[in-house]
């Protein structure tokens, strides 16, 4: 009885209930929303957001925020795309198609690390630093690509295949990758020491160094992971959409990801948030995105709905926790 109650009281249960109610409501108007086919559509909408949301979640749990992930996604996808485009001949050795994956992850990690270094070395607020690097990285994407798009024809078909071919059950690889990342994030956050230290830092930043936690290093790690995951999302963007555009790729992505994370019950006050909640938040967002065109709601209302959902999630977070206020000023310590 108590166990059941404690499960029901968790944030994740609330989101799950919201997803079910939402799907049933949409299904009442459009029965085809409740089909397996639709599930496939929803799942295919979410992998990039889910992967980046895992990184963003860690950042927010550590009481920071990363607004630059959309630009990191764009930049690392562009670097990999250029690798394919010019198909550099390494002494007669063909560049295998998968090279872009580790390359993109590494590039993303470096950009994330730069964010972390700026934040930690100069004691700056993450929000402003990443607002700056959002612009900076996007500009760099234009510069390295000479403002040219990487067309579909350059992207290796094996890479594009990740979003289409399936190892099992007709579910494309990309979805397995996304859930694999979520699983790794779960293990990392719940079963490694440093994972728990991230929660500790977010939970009480002033106490963390007193307890021997290397706040600087852990924060750098968190931003590096966030960047690396944005990089992974970048190469998967190329896989999913078959092109990399210096202007469109990843633009506005950060808002979707932050929305998903906040809806998933990750507290902006730090220290609170679960992988399960974030996954559910991503799925809820995916359901909404898939349902709008089905219901014939014009795409122009989508942004307003996202905005409203973020605000409502904030208010819920506030009412659930009713704890101290951590504004910008508290983070400064």
């Amino acid at each position: 009885m108590n166990a059941l109650r404690s499960i029901l009281l968790r944030r994740e249960a609330g989101i799950a209930v919201m997803i079910v109610l939402f799907c049933l409501a949409v299904g009442a108007f459009k029965p085809q929303f409740l089909t397996l086919d639709q599930l496939r559509i929803i799942l295919l909408l979410t992998p990039l957001i889910m992967i980046a949301a895992m990184g963003q979640m860690m950042v927010i749990v550590a009481r920071h925020v990363d607004l630059s992930i959309g630009s990191i996604l764009g930049f690392s996808a562009m670097v990999s795309g250029m690798l394919y485009r010019f198909d550099i001949d390494w002494f007669g050795f063909d560049v295998p198609w998968w090279t872009g994956i580790p390359l993109s992850i590494a590039v993303g990690a470096v950009l994330g690390l730069i964010n972390g270094l700026l934040i930690q070395l100069f004691r700056l607020p993450a929000i402003i630093v990443t607002l700056g690097t959002l612009s900076l990285y996007r500009g760099m994407t234009f510069i390295i690509s000479n403002a040219k798009q990487i067309d579909r024809q350059w992207i290796p078909s094996e890479l594009k295949g990740l979003s289409q071919t399936s190892p099992i059950l007709g579910i494309p690889w990309i979805i397995f990758i996304a859930f694999g990342v979520a699983l790794l994030a779960y293990v990392f956050l719940n079963h490694t020491r440093v994972g728990r230290q991230i929660y500790a830092i977010g939970s009480n930043p002033t106490a963390a160094p007193l307890r021997g936690i290397k706040v600087t290093q852990v924060t750098l790690l968190v931003f590096t992971i966030s960047g690396a995951l944005a990089g992974l999302a970048g190469i998967l963007y190329a896989s999913r959409w078959g092109f990399v555009n210096p202007s469109n790729t990843g633009s506005g992505f950060e808002f979707q990801v932050i929305a998903a994370v906040v809806i998933g019950g990750v507290s902006i006050n730090g220290g609170v948030g679960t992988v399960l909640g974030t996954v559910l938040g991503v799925l809820l967002l995916g359901c909404v995105a898939a349902a709008l065109p089905l219901l014939g709601i014009p795409g122009t209302s989508q942004a307003a709905i996202y905005g409203a959902v973020i605000l409502i999630a904030l208010v819920i977070d506030r009412t659930v926790r009713r704890q101290g206020i951590v504004g910008l000023r508290r983070v400064r310590a």
């Binding site: 612009s135 234009f142 403002a147 942004a303 905005g307 605000l311 910008l328 000023r329």
Partner: protein
């Protein structure tokens, strides 16, 4: 700090020596802004022979004058220890409401009034979430920025709404050879400069931003001050939105898209301290000109717009690092 002085044998020092007057006046972020501004003018002149033309610079400034006006108020919000990322979206929504109403036949003055009122209402929503619900303003206004622009899109769709011919062209009205939006910006800067520097309201903004707890204990109504500031940002943003409508002759939901970065950049470049309590209208005033000089200098030299993105992003980061450094050195 004062370790160089001989340690007093029994009691501590009563006070550190005062800084020399020239230091107080010169070693401050605004000086950095001014120097950058002068360098920017020279660099612009070097980049392109077409740059050094005062009427061109003034005309270019009209393109940024709406953002610059809002940035002045935003400066006060940041000094008070909060932030508002939603005014650019607010500009779009209030302009859309205004344009939509006048298109539906509402007389222009009434439509303007409703547009301004909607700006106030948006400021009030921000204020409610931040002050009433005690949520961090940075996240709240990221949410409202998405919401406001989304609502603008709901109202206007993807189409642009025309405004009547006679309403068009605020930037073509010249006051002593200077475009009206620039004049308005200067006037707003003067007024806000006086308010921030000379009135008790301005003084209390600094005090709230320095320490809200201490301000409350001193009987300063921090919540009320922040409410006024959020409302003021809303009102000025709506004004800026309607000014933009007059300049462009039409309104679309993407009006002022990305303007929040420019506004924050102006405040930061002007030496406003991101954690509150420090900053001046003069700094933001200079920074607005700096930004216009840098942007138009690059555009007129046909520099790749990507370079501009890089320069803007780098400027933002460098300016907060420099500001923090100057403050940490000069004020203990």
């Amino acid at each position: 700090m004062s370790t160089l002085e001989t340690p007093a044998p029994t009691s501590g020092h009563d006070a550190a020596p005062a800084r020399p007057r020239w230091q107080v006046v010169l070693v401050r972020p605004e000086t950095m802004t001014l120097i950058l501004l002068i360098l920017g003018i020279f660099a612009g002149g070097l980049l392109s022979p077409f740059f050094l033309d005062i009427s061109y610079i003034l005309r270019s400034f009209t393109l940024y004058s709406e953002f610059a006006m809002v940035a002045l108020v935003l400066t006060m919000v940041i000094i008070a220890g909060e932030i508002d990322l939603s005014p650019a979206a607010n500009m779009a929504l209030s302009a859309c409401i205004f344009a939509w109403l006048q298109q539906a036949g509402v007389p222009i003055p009434a439509a303007v009034a409703v547009g301004l009122a909607s700006g106030l209402a948006m400021g009030a929503l921000n204020a409610f979430m931040v002050i009433g619900l005690q949520l961090p303003s940075i996240i709240v206004t990221i949410g409202t920025l998405t919401l406001y622009r989304g609502l603008a899109q709901v109202i206007a769709g993807d189409k642009s709404i025309r405004v009547p011919e006679w309403f068009i062209g605020i930037d073509k009205i010249m006051v002593a050879g200077i475009p009206l939006p620039v004049v308005l910006f200067v006037v707003v800067a003067l007024v806000l400069g006086i308010v921030l520097g000379g009135t008790i309201f301005g003084r209390q903004i600094y005090q709230v931003g320095t320490s809200e707890v201490a301000a409350r204990h001193a009987g300063i109504r921090a919540a009320r001050i922040k409410l006024v500031l959020f409302l003021l940002v809303g009102l000025v943003a709506a004004t800026a939105g309607i000014m933009t409508a007059s300049r462009l002759g039409s309104v679309r939901y993407d009006l002022g898209l990305g303007g929040e970065l420019q506004m924050v950049l102006m405040a930061m470049l002007g030496g406003t301290y991101i954690f509150g309590g420090r900053g001046t209208i003069l700094g933001t005033f200079l920074a607005a000109w700096l930004l216009v000089i840098v942007s138009t200098g690059m555009i007129v030299a046909n520099v790749l717009p990507a370079v501009q993105l890089v320069v803007l992003g780098a400027l933002l980061i460098v300016s907060i690092i420099a500001t923090n450094f100057i403050y940490s050195r000069t004020q203990r």
